[in-house]
Structures are given as structure tokens and as C-alpha cells.
């Protein structure tokens, strides 16, 4: 238990240092763009495919139930609210933790094991600023954008599923999906994924940057990055929903 608190303290200091360093020169623009490509663009196919499949399957399941209660017309609205409020942010966070988080942990641990980080320090290059800060910034910026792709691909999958069963037009589907939709259903849940991104970046970078156990450490860093990031995302999701309800009470359904 003491060990858990010790690691929690170290991770907090690590994240705090990264937050401070992100406002300190040099700003590492090229590295941030490179990491946005690695974390954002390369996660896009996985996010879109997952969102589409989830949307389609969810509609299959909910449609038959709603028909029983004569409420099939609200199926698009249910789909939109479910994706924008919860499924999009949470599933995107978990997918990125799995794909990018493990990658960040493994790459940094490998750089530590092969003395590349020492090599950087020996050249008077601040390895934390050069390697860690751009990855955390890229995760923080990429998550909301990826979440939007997840949300809309989920709706696309839902529409196709709906169209297959009831021949509902796209225009009517969009109208029903967003007729009772409020901005507070959109912005707060989407922006909360910045917190998820910061968490994934910080946790993954922490394990990768600090574990120095050779090849075994690479695997350990990758696994720890995914497991701890995923658990924290789920925990943070619960807490942030409460915060959002407190700040935007109208968003509570």
C-alpha cells in the first residue's frame, strides 16, 4: 500500500513537472507534431472502426427493445446521447491507452535501456523536455479530436443499422438524433477527454522514462502503462461526470 502511495506521489510530481515545462522554452513544436502523428493519426483507423462497430451493434440491441415499448423513434437520440456523453469519451480513452499508451511506455523504456536517454543528457539536451513533454501534450490534444471521430463514426454505424432495419432516411435520423441535444451534452464530455489524454501521456511516459530494467523493463513499462492508464481513466470518468453535473446541472438527464 505504501508503494502505491509512493508511485502515486511520483507520478503526480512527474505530471506537474511536465505541465510546468510545457510553458517553458524551447516549445518542441516539431516533436509535438511528430507525436500528434504517432498518437493521433495512427489511432484514427482503430477509433473509427471501433466507433462504427459499436454504433451498429448498439442500435441492433436497443432498437428491438424500443420497438416493444413503441419508442423506436427515440433510437437516434439515445444513440447520440450515449455516444457523446459516455461511450465516445470513455472508449476512446481506453483505446488510446491501449494503443498509444503501451507504445509510449515501450519506446521510452527502450530508449532508457539502450542509453539513448543518457546520450541525450550527455549532449546537454533536456531529455524530459524533448521526449516526455511533447508526448503528454500530444495525448492531451489528440484525445478530444479522436473522441469526435468516435462519436460521429458511432452515429454513422447506428444510422446504417437503423437504415437496414427500418429504412429511416439520413436526414430524419440526424434530426431525431440532435432534436433535443444541448451544447452542454457536447462540450463538457468531449473536453474532459483532455484530462484522459494528460493522464495517458503522464502515466505512460512515467513508466517508460523511469523503468530501467533492460528488455524486461520494456514489457513491464508497456503493460503498466496500459493497466494503470485504463484504471485511472475509468476512475476519472466517474469523478468528472460528477463535476460536469455540478457545473452544468442541465446536462444531467
Amino acid at each position: 500500500m505504501t508503494n502505491v502511495f509512493e508511485i502515486a506521489g511520483k507520478v503526480s510530481l512527474f505530471g506537474f513537472r511536465a505541465a510546468i515545462d510545457s510553458f517553458r522554452r524551447p516549445f518542441e513544436g516539431a516533436q509535438i507534431v511528430r507525436q500528434l502523428g504517432e498518437i493521433g493519426s495512427k489511432s484514427l483507423p482503430l477509433v473509427i472502426a471501433s466507433g462504427f462497430a459499436l454504433g451498429a451493434v448498439m442500435t441492433f440491441h436497443t432498437h428491438s427493445t424500443l420497438v416493444m415499448f413503441g419508442a423506436s423513434a427515440i433510437s437516434p437520440a439515445v444513440q447520440a446521447l450515449a455516444f457523446f456523453l459516455e461511450i465516445g469519451p470513455l472508449v476512446t480513452g481506453l483505446l488510446v491507452a491501449g494503443r498509444a499508451g503501451s507504445g509510449i511506455g515501450a519506446v521510452l523504456a527502450d530508449m532508457r535501456a539502450t542509453e539513448q536517454i543518457d546520450g541525450m543528457e550527455s549532449l546537454s539536451i533536456d531529455s524530459f523536455k524533448f521526449l516526455v513533454v511533447p508526448r503528454i501534450i500530444a495525448c492531451t490534444l489528440a484525445l478530444p479530436v479522436l473522441t469526435l471521430f468516435m462519436d460521429f463514426s458511432g452515429l454513422a454505424g447506428g444510422f446504417l443499422s437503423e437504415f437496414a432495419t427500418s429504412r429511416l432516411s439520413l436526414q430524419l435520423y440526424i434530426f431525431r438524433a440532435f432534436s433535443n441535444f444541448q451544447w452542454t451534452n457536447f462540450w463538457p464530455p468531449t473536453l474532459k477527454t483532455c484530462v484522459f489524454g494528460f493522464t495517458i501521456g503522464t502515466i505512460s511516459s512515467f513508466f517508460g522514462y523511469t523503468i530501467n530494467e533492460g528488455a524486461q523493463g520494456v514489457g513491464k513499462a508497456a503493460t503498466s502503462s496500459v493497466v494503470v492508464s485504463s484504471l485511472l481513466i475509468i476512475l476519472l470518468d466517474v469523478m468528472l461526470i460528477k463535476v460536469i453535473f455540478f457545473i452544468f446541472p442541465e446536462s444531467a438527464l
Partner: protein, 248 residues
Amino acid sequence: MTNGHAPAVAFDQVSKSFGSKHVLSDVSWNVPVGEAVCILGRSGTGKSVTLKLIIALLKPDQGSIWIDQDDVTHLEGPRLSAMRRKIGYLFQDAALFDSLTLYENLAVPLARLTQKSPGEIDYVVDRALGQVGLAGDKAKMPSELSGGMRKRAGLARALMLEPRILLADEPSSGLDRITASEIDDLLLQRKAEHKTTLIVVTHDVHGARRVADRLVVLDRGKLIAQGTVAEVEQSENEVARNLIGSNA
């Protein structure tokens, strides 16, 4: 022991432990400016740790390490950065940044730490790669280079900022005799042309005899002999004599 010059690097009663393992115990030695010292010893006797202490990648538990007028054990921030710019470090496996091309590996320190224009950086990198025989390989990734090429590339990168002190960790390990000899030639050329102080950790006695003005011999974390090759050959310590092959 010295040629009368001020020491480029001086160890003063340095000790370092990792947990219960004592890697260095009360070690003192120095190397004069412009000379080459080779650190010899069996595996696990603290040779590579010695290099990391010099460049402050590790901190000693006690003792001081002097470079010019600075005790590096107390340097932080910009002063530590300024000290490191005086030192080039050739890592055992070269430690090239594997996500960057060979050209970018060499250009990174120049782009970040000097005021050179892109054109000047191109010129300096091309010249450095030419000097180590890698002029046609600058677009390659480190994974595409052989062991000898990686070592030469690592050496070129270590020399990018024109260091006054060059640390080399096992520069000939894993290389055939001819390639190892080429690396030794590059080190000697650097020393002759730029008066660079060399501190070389090696198991290669043949190379050490060629390169070193003086030897420092470590065993189980203690300094057991130091001096010229001839002096170490006459050392009373049998391990030291065995290490440089004088008992063979």
C-alpha cells in the same frame, strides 16, 4: 604521474554504491589536459560508472570530481549543461537516437545548442560524417548500420560540439581487430589534432597500449594501479599485471 599540466579531470576519493554493492571505493586519479588515459579492469569493477560520474549522469556517494575549476558533483541546471558541453561521450552501443536518421542524430546537438544556420549545420555534419567514413550514409536509420558504422557514427556525434574531453566506453567491443584499430586511429587523430583529453574504458589491451599515455586499473571498485604501460607492467599487483598481459 602527470606531465605538469593542470588535470582535465580529477577524481578525489570518490565512492559509489548501488544498494549494497560497492562499485567504487575511495578512488583518486587524474588525467592531464591533452593526454589519453585508458581505464582497465574486469567486468563489473566500475569502469562505465566512472565515465557516467564524470559527465554527471550519476552522482557519487562521496568524494569530488573536478573538471577545470568545477566540482561536477554539485553542478545543476545551466552550469551542468555548460560543463557537459565540454565533454563528448561515445557510448558502448553508440546510443544513437533510433527514430532519427544518421544526419539528424548529428544535427540535433548543433541545432539545439549552437547558433549555426541550417547551411552551416549541413556543412559541419557532412564534414564529420566524411571524417568517419560515413559520408554516403547520412539518410540511413541507425538500425541500417553495422556495429562498426554505429560506433563511428556515435564518435562523430560525440565530437559535434568540439569537446575538450572525450569519454569512450568500450570503443572496440564487438568489433573485429581491423575495425577496432580504425576506431583507435580516429581517437588518436582527434587527440593529436585538437589536444582532446581522452578517457577510454576498454577490455582491449592491444588498443589500450596503442592509445593510452597512462593506464588506470580498477579491481573490485578499488584503484590497484596507475601509470604508464611500462609502470603498470612493473606493478606489484598481480591482477594489474595480468590485465595488461605482462604475465602472459
